[in-house]
């Protein structure tokens, strides 16, 4: 821990504390964890950019079916490679203290595969495919049925896709979202 703290100035820590949902100690812990991903590289340059594959060795990311989406969303140049600051952003959003709307915003962007600011039928299909994994297979009929059910529930204006407002509405009604959309440091 002592070594880590020397990598940051007090000002930097204060900045990070102001701009994330973390306290200074948690920030140092986050850096410690980031360092574990690539000890040499990060030891050399505390803000080193780690390629996406390296990021996947973070256990929570490795097991997550949306890992590449998460990395891309938080990566500052959108190619999935993350610096420590990107990692901190990510952890801040996934922390317990982040409010529901912030989490919802990022969840929406994770699920919005084609980036058209709407979760359409294709996005839903991809989300479901990733959720049930490679080993299981949903029949085409069931898949269509499921997507139809989702749209029936959530698509308030009946345009065949979920806008952010509709998504947020669903999330607000979902009691488990905040407890599930969370990674502990």
């Amino acid at each position: 821990m002592g070594q880590n703290s020397s990598q940051f100035t007090e000002q930097e820590l204060q900045d990070y504390q102001d701009l994330t949902y973390f306290t200074k100690q948690e920030i140092l812990l986050a850096h410690h964890k980031f360092k574990l991903l690539a000890p040499e590289k990060v030891g050399h340059n505390k803000n080193a950019k780690l390629p996406m594959n390296k990021m996947f060795s973070y256990p929570e990311l490795g097991a997550n079916p949306f890992r590449d989406r998460i990395c891309r969303i938080f990566s500052s140049n959108h190619d999935g490679d993350c610096t420590f600051e990107d990692f901190l952003d990510m952890m801040s959003v996934f922390s317990e203290n982040a409010p529901r709307n912030v989490k919802a915003e990022h969840a929406f962007r994770i699920y919005d595969f084609d980036g058209d600011d709407m979760i359409g039928v294709d996005d839903l299909r991809q989300v479901i495919d990733r959720l049930i994994g490679n080993e299981q297979n949903l029949s085409e009929q069931d898949m269509q049925h499921l997507i139809q059910n989702i749209l029936d529930e959530a698509d308030l204006d009946d345009d065949g896709a979920l806008s952010f407002a509709e998504f947020e509405h669903v999330i607000n009604k979902s009691p488990d979202f905040t407890s599930v959309f969370r990674m502990k440091l």
């Binding site: 256990p59 962007r109 959720l131 204006d157 669903v170 979902s174 502990k184």
Partner: protein
């Protein structure tokens, strides 16, 4: 992100043609960059939908715009207002930045900085924003405001420090995280539940220790002559200390009937009167005793209710059909805290099962509608037979427990081997616990043939198990009551203090329960799990495969808590023992969860299971209150032991206390419990209830109407967008030709 890409494609500086007349200022003003968007729209007419205000307000924050969003928002509103009201030549004025708005004070500045966190931009941009904000002119707060602000700032600093310390001190942080990593949030919610119960019991134990146990010890230690006159059973300090040696004395209390009156584990011990004068308030033992018990029960009631309330709200939502089942599965299905491959695979499978299960429920409904009368009759018959079977089984179990109780009481164990004595001693508790262990399996097995939908099947099984556990406790209480009635006519040495006798039975039950938990986990389930890992035989697998069945574990814990509530009055040390037991249970269950079991391929939702725990806890609380309340009102307290030996019943003592109150207070209390007050109150409550029901019905209708309207609006929007894009296309073609 999408807006970022969009932005890259835009070449700034050009103004969209053909739109200038149509209130160009308006568009430029409200949504900066609208002109360029318009131009882009001409190349791709479908892009027009991105111009909609509903899209703008959110994506505005993702723009790589150096302007401050919050600031822009404010000026936007203002200029919007002015352009619509004022004539065209006044627009220039509104475009000038309002200087007074930039001059914010320290507090506002700090609030704005705090808002940056919520923005979905990367750290570099956040830093930039912060620097921008800091470089702005700020007013220092003056006078009292300054003082208040300073105070708030230091308070916040302290609170972050406290939070950091708290984080470090949090009990079982790493254990819980590990479980979460393996099993996801729903199973970890069970462990949080255990932890919550530990703290509940800790507070109950504290109340008991402060008000009852410590004063009694104090009195015992400094036996003054005045008190010793009253004391029936004098025990000096060294005796107290010797009984305090926990394990030894705890076992003693169970095996030695004599200790029922000499050990602080029992009600009968608390008969040393003490008078503590705290200023104007006089506290004596009976009062302290009854107050402490009441405080414990009220505290538990409030905390259970508080926790249950949120769960009930959610259940209501669920029942009203406003709950988004499928969206919940898809959007909050994945536990982002899962961190190993194996659990992730199982989670995939669980989600798949859930989805297919949900879809099947619908199909099954269809099937139910098509069921022929013959099939329907068959199914009804099966269900009736199963229910009759289960009820008979419950009755037989009750009878056996009763017999065991009788056996253990009548059998004279003098001179027998120790293990026979042990067996006889624990016959009742043993039979209760073995039924608790075996019956749930039978229920689950029978439940399969009833062909209810899976969720209902699970609920029914839980309900039946609760019935079993409560009815066995009922039989125990009934047997003790019967013995008590007998002891009135014939002298029974054990029933000198029936309260202690009941406490003793409950202790036995608790102890045996804990022992079986530990035994099952380490000596039955552990070998099973080892077999499951190494033996691939299908037949063997059927018997050794274990899944972490959340509901049965919850019932185990709730059962312990029920006994604690039930026995709190008769055994003041029970909450303290409860704390220790719960801590043991936590580790036992953790072992069961991490080593013995595989994650269950069922999706449990943490919120739903939480509300179920609280609901079961509430039922068990009510269950444990009723016999206790009956006993303090109706059953005569034992004459030779305990704090209430001078009184006919405990209630007589409470009445006496009430009579000591001032006249007006007495009258107020009598009025409050008389029918003059209760009946109108009841009617008012009914009316309020009806009023809220009426409001609810109307609101429900309103929601439906609004939803329909929303759909129509959506259709309108799409229609207009289509028309608009067609129109633009037409324009373009005309322009090109």
């Amino acid at each position: 992100m999408s807006s970022g890409e969009r932005k890259k494609r835009i070449t700034p500086g050009h103004v969209g043609k053909g739109w200038e007349e149509a209130g160009g200022e308006f568009y430029q003003e409200s949504y900066p960059g609208a002109d360029s968007d318009l131009e882009m729209m001409q190349t791709d007419p479908h892009r027009i939908s991105t111009l909609l205000p509903s899209k703008k307000s959110r994506t505005g924050t993702t723009r790589k715009d150096t302007k401050l969003t919050t600031l822009r928002h404010r000026t936007t509103l203002k200029s919007h207002y002015q352009t619509t009201v004022a004539p065209n030549n006044d627009i220039q004025i509104s475009l000038l930045p309002d200087l007074s708005e930039n001059l914010s004070n320290e507090k506002l500045l700090w609030e704005e900085i705090m808002k940056i966190k919520a923005m979905p931009v990367n750290m570099a941009q956040k830093k930039e924003l912060k620097i921008k904000l800091l470089s702005r002119d700020t007013l220092r707060l003056q006078g009292f405001k300054q003082f208040k602000w300073k105070k708030k700032q230091s308070f916040m600093q302290i609170s972050t420090h406290l939070k950091e310390i708290n984080e470090k001190l949090t009990l079982w942080r790493s254990s819980l995280k590990k479980i979460e990593g393996y099993y996801g949030t729903s199973v970890v919610s069970f462990f949080f539940f255990v932890k919550w119960l530990i703290f509940l019991n800790l507070i109950m134990a504290l109340i008991m220790v402060i008000f009852v146990i410590l004063p009694t010890f104090y009195v015992n230690k400094f036996n003054t002559t005045e008190i010793s006159n009253l004391v029936f059973n004098i025990s000096n300090a060294s005796e107290v200390l010797s009984t305090l040696r926990p394990v030894n004395s705890f076992l003693n209390t169970i095996f030695d009937p004599e200790s029922m009156v000499t050990s602080p584990f029992y009600y009968a011990y608390y008969d040393k009167y003490f008078n503590l004068n705290l200023y104007c308030f006089r506290l004596d033992l009976p009062l302290a005793y009854i107050l402490a018990t009441f405080m414990c029960l009220i505290y538990s009631f409030i905390s259970v209710l508080k926790n249950a309330a949120s769960g009930f709200k959610q259940r209501l939502l669920e029942n009203q059909g406003q709950f988004y089942i499928y969206c919940n599965v898809v959007f909050s299905g994945w536990d982002f805290c899962i961190q190993n491959e194996r659990s992730s695979k199982i989670k995939h499978k669980a989600l798949y099962n859930e989805i297919v299960g949900r879809l099947n429920v619908e199909k099954r409904k269809e099937e139910q509608r098509n069921r022929t009368k013959q099939e329907w009759c068959n199914l009804c018959l099966i269900r009736i037979v199963i229910n009759v079977l289960i009820i008979t089984a419950l009755i037989v179990a009750g009878f056996i427990i009763f017999l065991a109780f009788k056996f253990s009481n009548e059998r004279n164990t003098e001179g027998d081997e120790w293990f026979i004595r042990l067996l006889v001693e624990f016959a009742t508790a043993g039979s209760i616990i073995s039924f608790n262990l075996i019956f749930p399996f039978i229920f689950r097995w029978l439940g399969k043939y009833e062909r209810f939908n899976p969720i209902l099947t699970m609920q029914i099984t839980i309900f039946r198990t609760i019935m079993l556990r409560f009815s066995s406790l009922c039989i125990l209480l009934g047997s003790v009551y019967k013995k008590l009635l007998q002891s009135i006519t014939e002298v029974d040495d054990e029933m000198k203090s029936w309260e202690s006798y009941l406490a003793r039975e409950l202790y036995k039950l608790l102890l045996l329960n804990a022992v079986t938990q530990v035994f099952c986990t380490f000596f039955i389930n552990l070998p099973r799990s080892v077999l499951a890992k190494h033996c691939k035989n299908k037949f063997v697998q059927y018997f050794v495969k274990q899944e972490f069945n959340l509901s049965s574990h919850v019932l185990d814990v709730v059962y312990i808590q029920t006994i604690i509530w039930l026995g709190n009055f008769y055994a003041p040390v029970l909450p303290l023992i409860g704390v220790i037991l719960m801590i043991i249970i936590f580790y036992v269950k953790k072992f069961a969860c991490l080593v013995n079991c595989k994650p269950s391929p069922e999706v449990y939702y943490s919120s739903r299971s939480h509300s179920v725990y609280m609901f079961i806890l509430l039922i068990s609380f009510t269950f444990s209150i009723i016999p206790w309340a009956y006993s303090i009102v109706e059953i005569k307290s034992s004459k030779e032991y305990g704090p209430f030996m001078k009184y006919e019943t405990v209630w007589a003592f409470i009445e006496q206390i009430f009579q000591k109150f001032p006249e007006w207070m007495n009258r107020a209390i009598t009025f409050c419990v008389s029918s003059n007050f209760i009946v109108p109150l009841f009617i008012i409550l009914l009316l309020t209830n009806y009023y809220y029901y009426a409001v609810y019905v109307v609101n429900k209708q309103m929601v439906l109407v609004l939803k329909r309207q929303l759909i129509l609006e959506g259709h309108d929007k799409q229609f207009l967008l289509n028309r608009l894009s067609a129109f633009i296309k037409q324009q373009q073609e005309r322009y090109h030709s």
